[in-house]
Structure formats: structure tokens, C-alpha cells
């Protein structure tokens, strides 16, 4: 297990990657993924992801994500992205609301995040902050003292693509502390890799992998979680 952990960590270090699949840049799209997930808390489990991408107009896009897992830890998120073209690339503001429903443990992990980003053909970077409300349930609406607030957390994402965005296929590598389904604390890095292939103008297949070590900033990193997801997207 130690060797496996070291191997995964090495791979993660060599292949830092990202989970923002470019399944639609100027087209409405829906997607579905199925994944094998593992962490040392829940063990092996499966995940089912559904998403919708909505480029409302040239200055505004939205994204909605929903995940169910067999570990009874689910997530729902909405992202709003006003965007502005600059001479090279595009600036954007990323505002998101994410609800992590840890049903099994009785917590709603509600996170609001806002950040600014810049994306070009080969690179996308994003920096922002988030506020977390941890709401235990069943919740007593007459007593707010049980809500735990983490008022400030830094969010970041650096993603590199091997092909331009308009290419029919692409692979990206990313380091971040957030995914579409979870916003972790500042020091909890997540390494991701994504690939997509456009079969035709409507259909696209996706494959992505994620590795979440723990204790990196304890200077004693060990394997904690990994997942592999595969699925498809339909561009309207």
C-alpha cells in the first residue's frame, strides 16, 4: 500500500491536472460521468455526475453540477462566470455556490466562492476566496449556534492544456484546492488530469483522474483519495 501511495503521489506530482472539462465553449451542453472513487475514510465507492453548461451570451456563462455517490456524500454546485475578452485570452469572474451533502455524517458543507481568472488557449489561472458554512442536520432552526463558519479561505486553480481550446481533443493538467464538487481548505492540494475528445459536433467523450494526498503541508504527505471518471457530453 505504501508503494502504491508513493506511486500515486509521484504520478500526481508529475501529472498535475485539472477537472474543468471543456465540454462546451460556446454551445449549451449537458454531460454525464460515472466514476470509481476511493478515499481512506469511505473506502471504494462509485460516483455519478451530471452537469449542464450554459453560455447565456458572449459575456456570461453558467454551469450546474450534481454528484451522487454510493458513500452517501453528494454535492450540488452552481457557477456563474461573467467574462470579458482581452487582447490575448479572456478574463472572467467565477462566483460559485457549492453544497456538499455529507448525508451519512449529517453535515451540509455550504461554500460560497468568488474569484478572478484568466484563460488562454493553453493556460487558465484563477484566484479567489471562499466562505464555508458547516450546517449540521437535522438542523434546529431556532438555534444558529451550531453552524460553524470558516469565514475566509483562499481558492486557486492553475490549469495547463496541451492543445488550443478549439481543438477537437485536449488534455489538461491542473493543481487546485477545488473541484466542481468540493472546495477544500487552502493547504489541501488536489491534482487533476482531464481529457476530452469531440466525436462529432454534438458528442464528446471525457476521461478524468484526480489524486488528493493529505499532509502535504504537514511535510509528511500520504495518499488519501483518488478517483477516475469517464463519461460523455452532448453539445446542442
Amino acid at each position: 500500500m505504501k508503494k502504491l501511495s508513493t506511486l500515486i503521489l509521484l504520478l500526481a506530482a508529475m501529472l498535475p491536472a485539472m477537472a474543468q472539462v471543456q465540454y462546451g465553449t460556446n454551445q449549451y451542453a449537458v454531460r454525464m460521468n460515472i466514476g470509481y472513487l476511493h478515499n481512506t475514510t469511505y473506502g471504494s465507492h462509485a460516483g455519478f455526475d451530471f452537469g449542464a453548461f450554459m453560455p447565456i451570451n458572449e459575456h456570461f456563462e453558467m454551469q450546474a453540477d450534481l454528484r451522487f455517490t454510493t458513500a452517501n456524500a453528494h454535492a450540488f454546485g452552481v457557477q456563474l462566470r461573467p467574462k470579458f475578452a482581452v487582447p490575448v485570452g479572456e478574463m472572467f469572474i467565477d462566483a460559485r455556490l457549492l453544497s456538499g451533502l455529507y448525508e451519512k455524517d449529517g453535515f451540509n458543507d455550504l461554500v460560497q466562492a468568488i474569484g478572478v481568472g484568466y484563460r488562454m488557449d493553453y493556460v487558465s489561472v484563477q484566484l479567489g476566496m471562499s466562505t464555508r458554512l458547516v450546517i449540521p442536520y437535522p438542523y434546529d432552526w431556532h438555534d444558529g449556534s451550531n453552524i460553524i463558519v470558516e469565514p475566509f479561505n483562499l481558492c486557486y486553480r492553475v490549469e495547463a492544456f496541451v492543445r488550443p481550446q478549439t481543438s477537437p481533443w485536449n488534455i489538461s493538467f491542473c493543481i487546485s484546492n477545488m473541484t466542481d464538487y468540493q472546495i477544500e481548505r487552502l493547504w489541501q492540494l488536489i491534482f487533476m488530469a482531464n481529457g476530452r475528445y469531440n466525436i462529432d459536433e454534438h458528442w464528446q467523450v471525457n476521461l478524468s483522474a484526480l489524486c488528493k494526498p493529505t499532509g502535504m503541508f504537514h511535510l509528511n504527505a500520504k495518499y488519501y483519495a483518488a478517483e477516475v471518471r469517464a463519461g460523455f457530453a452532448y453539445n446542442f
Binding site: 506530482a13 481512506t40 493529505t214
Partner: protein, 294 residues
Amino acid sequence: MKKTIILSAIVALLCGCNPETTNLDIVGMFSGSSAGIDERIDDSFRYNDEHGMPVINATAEEYKVYVCTDTHVDFTRKNWEQFIHAYRADLACPLALHLGDLINAQRHWDYMKRPLDSIPANPLKNDTLLAVAGNHDLYFNQWSEYLRLWKTSTYYAIVRTPAGKQDLYIFLDSGEGFLGQRQTEWLKQTLGWADNQGFRHIVVCTHTHLFKRDTSQGHTSNMPLEETYALIHLLKQHKVEMFWCGHDHSREITNLGTMTSIIIDALEDPEKHPAYLIATMDDDPIAYRFVDVK
């Protein structure tokens, strides 16, 4: 110029990986050099099996527990010595705890341990000091050194009062920011056993904190979210009254309904506001106060 920069970067990287020249285990950021949690648990359980879990007899129904964390002893140990003097002078204190990061980095273990031998213990009272490993006690492959001096990092201790009441203290190893499957399984079994023993108080002690409610994003990392919520759920299910931890260096008290989580201030010498905690254990809910170290 370019060559100088590249050469400097290589030298800095090599120095950063060398335990002789730095206090930070940079390689440990990607793959920890100490034994992993499962191996450490094996070592801890081996000691527990051979020696049993500590049972401490208090001399009164009400007694005090002194708790400190993050002493980070390296070249000075003023606050650490003050803590030892304080708990040894208090006749009502049969038990003191250290919640990890005893030393700052490698090569300071014996310097840290020495005051425990040199500061006289009070022969009239129990003088037990128990500890768990923190991340600073592990990186640069220091688990064997921790083990040499402190023997175990996953265990429990029982304090018995003259009237036969018992308080349970559970110690968990979170030196790499999570508990791991086997330690969690042991915790479940221990808490399940404790349900039927009629303990007056149950306290869980570890190094890594659960939440970070202040804005001190500083330099310390939590457990992953999944682990955090699963652990709180488990502890509350078994009526754990308090969760004591350190690592963050700044005091934080979080109400988790039936359980209270307390991050205790760091006691290290250069700290701006070093402090330790004194808990009063009697038939009422646990009372506590912080003592600032001057």
C-alpha cells in the same frame, strides 16, 4: 546570470532536502519519509499489548488535567519548562498531556526530554505525562525517535477517582493530517466498548485540528473534509464530550452540539501568546481555563 540562478536553485533544492541543513522536509511534501500511519499503528499497538493502557489513580473526585501542545522545542525550552514546573507543582493534577509537535525538527529530542528528568517531580502525587505525535515529530523519518521516548501514539488512558468513577482519554495519531482506516476502526471499537463502561467523561486528543474558524490561514492544514465530518459524526455518536487538539497555534473553541472542540494555543518559545489549558474534571461538565505563559 542565467547559470548563477539555475545553480542557486539547485543548491537551494539540495539544501532543502538535506536534514543537516534545514528544518523543513521538502521531499516530505510529496512523499513522507516517516513510517506511514498503518506502520505506526502497528508499533503503537505492539507497545500497548505488551504494557497495557495507562490507568491513573486520582486522589480526589475532582482533579485537574494540564494540556499543552506545539512546544516546538529546538534551541530554547523556556515555556516547556514552565509548563512542567506548573503541572508538577499542582497537587490536584495527576495527568498532563502534550498534543504533539514536541520538537521543531530533527536532533532536538533529548534536549526536549531533559527537563522531565531534571525538574523534580512531587513524590506526593501521580506524575504522568502522555503525548501524541505531531507532524513535526514525524517528518525527516523521526518516528523511531518519537517511539524511543514516547512509546506509543494511538492508545487510551483511564483516570480513576477514589469513588471508582472513571474518565477516558483517547489519543489519536494524526501526524499526517488523517487517521487512516485501521486507526478509525480501532477508534470505533474503543468507543463502542466505552459505551458500556459508564465513563464519567470521554475526551479525544490528537494533533491536527478539525476547523479553522479564525482568519489565521497561516501555515497549518486540516484533515480532509470527508475525514473531518466522519470523525465528528463518530465522536458525537458515542457521546465524546471534548476534542482537544493543537497544530493551528491559535486558540479556537467550537461548539459542535453535544461536543466541544478546542484548539489549544502553541506553547513554543517565540510564540506571541503562548498558553496551556487546565481542565477541571468532576461530576459536572468539563470546565476549562487557559493559562497564559509569560
